[in-house]
């Protein structure tokens, strides 16, 4: 790879771009459906916890920070430090998932039907698909923490940053815009 070129494996970038495209289409769809069902969206948005969304944001950004330091440790041969940081990053991922589960169960307990409401169908699809990526990424971080060489760490951490990036876009659109 040329010095100023794309960092890391170019295949992971194909994945990142594809994923961001999928979420971007989902979010644009969400915003268009909001225009068609303004009342429903505004009412429904007050059932979401903006606070939980914010906390999720902080968890993921911090986790990404730890993962990034882990990567530079792997680069400099500090494998045991890298391992520790990767495990910490994964733990924050687990916390994110726990928070998400609480949000879902809270909505469920308050009688939200995920089908039949445009708002909650899209909310469930977008956040559910994102959460599936968080779960996968968490597992990935744990797996590479077993042998944290740069070659293993770099693509997994890049995937993890993509998950961050997506939440940066998802959070405001789902939680903050329809209010």
């Amino acid at each position: 790879m040329a010095k100023k070129g794309l960092p890391g494996n170019s295949l992971i970038w194909i994945l990142i771009v594809s994923e961001v495209l999928v979420f971007a289409l989902g979010l644009v769809a969400f915003l268009v459906m909001r225009l068609l069902h303004l009342r429903e969206f505004q009412a429904a948005s007050h059932l979401l916890h903006a606070g939980a969304g914010t906390l999720s944001m902080a968890l993921l950004l911090t986790s990404g920070y730890l993962a990034a330091i882990a990567q530079s440790n792997s680069q400099q041969g500090g494998q045991s430090r890298s391992r520790l940081l990767l495990i910490l990053a994964a733990l924050l991922g687990v916390l994110f998932l726990a928070l998400k589960a609480m949000e879902y169960s809270d909505l469920w307990n308050r009688g939200v039907a995920f089908e039949g409401s445009q708002f909650f169908t899209l909310y469930a699809l977008i956040t559910g698909f994102h959460a599936a990526h968080v779960a996968f990424g968490t597992g990935l971080l744990l797996v590479v923490s077993l042998r944290p060489t740069l070659e293993h760490v770099e693509p997994s951490v890049a995937f993890w940053h993509m998950v961050d990036l997506v939440w940066v876009l998802v959070f405001p659109v789902l939680y903050l815009v329809p209010r």
């Binding site: 194909i14 994945l15 594809s18 289409l25 989902g26 769809a29 169908t121 899209l122 699809l125």
Partner: protein, 448 residues
């Protein structure tokens, strides 16, 4: 031809071309029934002729894939095929099965699901043939040089066999039945077949343009990643109205909208390779087919697919002539053209000749490509009119059909052009001119 066992491909290609001729001829019969509905209505009803048209298509495309694999795998792995004998046995099995199925169809022995009408025992025969094939090529690859091209090809071929297994399961619940049906039909053409297409195109680009293998491999990875990422969940674009939950409308619309990307990447790939290429390969016709393949696939699958893939659009166009327009150009552009490309490329080597009948072959490309494009346009117009009259204004199905007859006549006309092109192609590739007697030294075949 560097390896003796590559010769197996010749038999496969020949059988494929026989079925190709039959397939397009039955297409003509269908097209004629559309304008003269009583034609052969006792002897060969529309539904039977349609089964033969579509089944022959799928079987000959698969024979082409097998032939292409038997041709390129020895060259890529740098060794002879594991067992040419098994390859011939497999071919006999397939041809017997296909003929038995067709004869059975004529006597009204068939199952009900489109494309998968073969009786169970024919399906099982296909599975056995597929196992023989996979054993043969996998052994060859395992014992030889491993390349990205053969890896992707094998992935695609294994996928074809794996997803075909869903055809053996026919649940009573119609919704579930349809879901499984699409696992075969959709995941074949918009998933694993794309892998075969990409790797065969990659092989041809390598040979025809002389671009470095590393560059070709990089593109191949990108195409495969995009195809699988979009195509698998893209299956959702068939789950809009079959009784599956509503969220499929979102999943299907979003992922299938992105299915245009791998086809776009293949266009970029073939053209960039040709621009970058340093080699002037004498087989210009093969290059024309390869480029035509990526471009027509982009239009037929990518653009025509996108036209009706979003749920609010498909709500109106579902199952109209728009679908038939897309089906024809997509199948022709992607898989027919890809097969004809590799056949055009391989035949001179298989016969030990310099490229021959180039002009005739290229003429057949333009005949078929323009015939197919015209057919696609007429069917698209027919589909738009049909959608409006039937789905918007609510007129009855047959009343609408009556008003479309002009389009159906034009479809028949373009079909005649396609059939002429197909016959010309078969002549040009299988009947080399007599004058060219001296054989080419196999070693002179372009290396990488």
């Amino acid at each position: 031809m560097k390896y003796q066992s590559q010769k197996v491909a010749l038999a496969y290609f020949a059988c494929a071309m026989i079925l190709f001729a039959a397939q397009v001829t039955f297409g003509l019969v269908l097209g004629y029934i559309y304008v003269a509905p009583n034609f052969l209505s006792e002897l060969l009803p529309f539904n039977i002729a349609r089964m033969i048209h579509t089944n022959a298509l799928v079987v000959w495309l698969l024979l082409g894939f097998f032939g292409a694999s038997y041709y390129l795998i020895p060259e890529e792995t740098e060794r002879e095929l594991h067992s040419p004998k098994l390859a011939y046995i497999q071919l006999v099995l397939l041809m017997v099965g296909a003929s038995a199925a067709v004869i059975g169809y004529l006597f009204r022995i068939h199952e009900g699901r489109e494309f998968l009408e073969q009786p169970l025992w024919v399906k099982l025969g296909i599975v056995v043939a597929a196992l023989i094939f996979l054993y043969n090529v996998t052994m060859t690859v395992l014992q030889g040089r491993k390349t990205v091209i053969t890896n992707v090809l094998l992935l695609g071929l294994w996928g074809i066999a794996l997803f075909f297994l869903f055809s053996l399961y026919n649940p009573a619940n119609l919704t579930v039945d349809k879901m499984y049906w699409w696992y075969v039909v959709h995941i074949w053409v918009e998933g694993v077949w794309e892998l075969v297409m990409a790797s065969v195109l990659a092989f041809m680009m390598l040979k025809l343009t002389g671009v470095d293998r590393e560059v070709v491999e990089k593109w191949l990875y990108v195409i495969v990643a995009l195809a699988l990422f979009t195509g698998l969940l893209g299956t959702g674009h068939h789950y809009y109205w079959i009784g599956t939950p509503g969220y499929w409308q979102w999943i299907g619309s979003i992922f299938s909208a992105l299915e245009i990307l791998p086809f776009f990447a293949m266009v970029m790939f073939t053209f960039v390779m040709v621009w970058k290429g340093r080699r002037e390969h004498p087989n210009k016709a093969a290059l024309l087919w390869a480029l035509g393949c990526s471009v027509l696939a982009f239009f037929g699958a990518g653009v025509w697919g996108f036209m009706h893939t979003l749920a609010p659009m498909n709500y109106y166009t579902h199952g109209t002539q728009v679908t038939a327009a897309h089906g024809h150009l997509a199948f022709f552009g992607a898989y027919v053209s890809m097969n004809l490309a590799i056949i055009t490329y391989a035949m001179p080597y298989l016969l030990g000749r310099r490229p021959y009948n180039q002009v005739l072959n290229m003429a057949s490309f333009w005949l078929m490509a323009s015939g197919m494009s015209f057919m696609t346009f007429t069917l698209t117009f027919a589909g738009v009119v049909q959608t409006h009259l039937q789905r918007v204004l609510g007129q009855g199905f047959m009343d609408v059909q009556d008003q479309l007859s002009l389009f159906y006549w034009m479809r028949l006309g373009s079909g005649v052009v396609v059939v002429l092109g197909a016959l010309l192609f078969i002549y040009a590739t299988f009947v080399p001119r007599r004058e060219v007697i001296e054989t080419v030294n196999p070693a002179a075949a372009p290396a990488e």
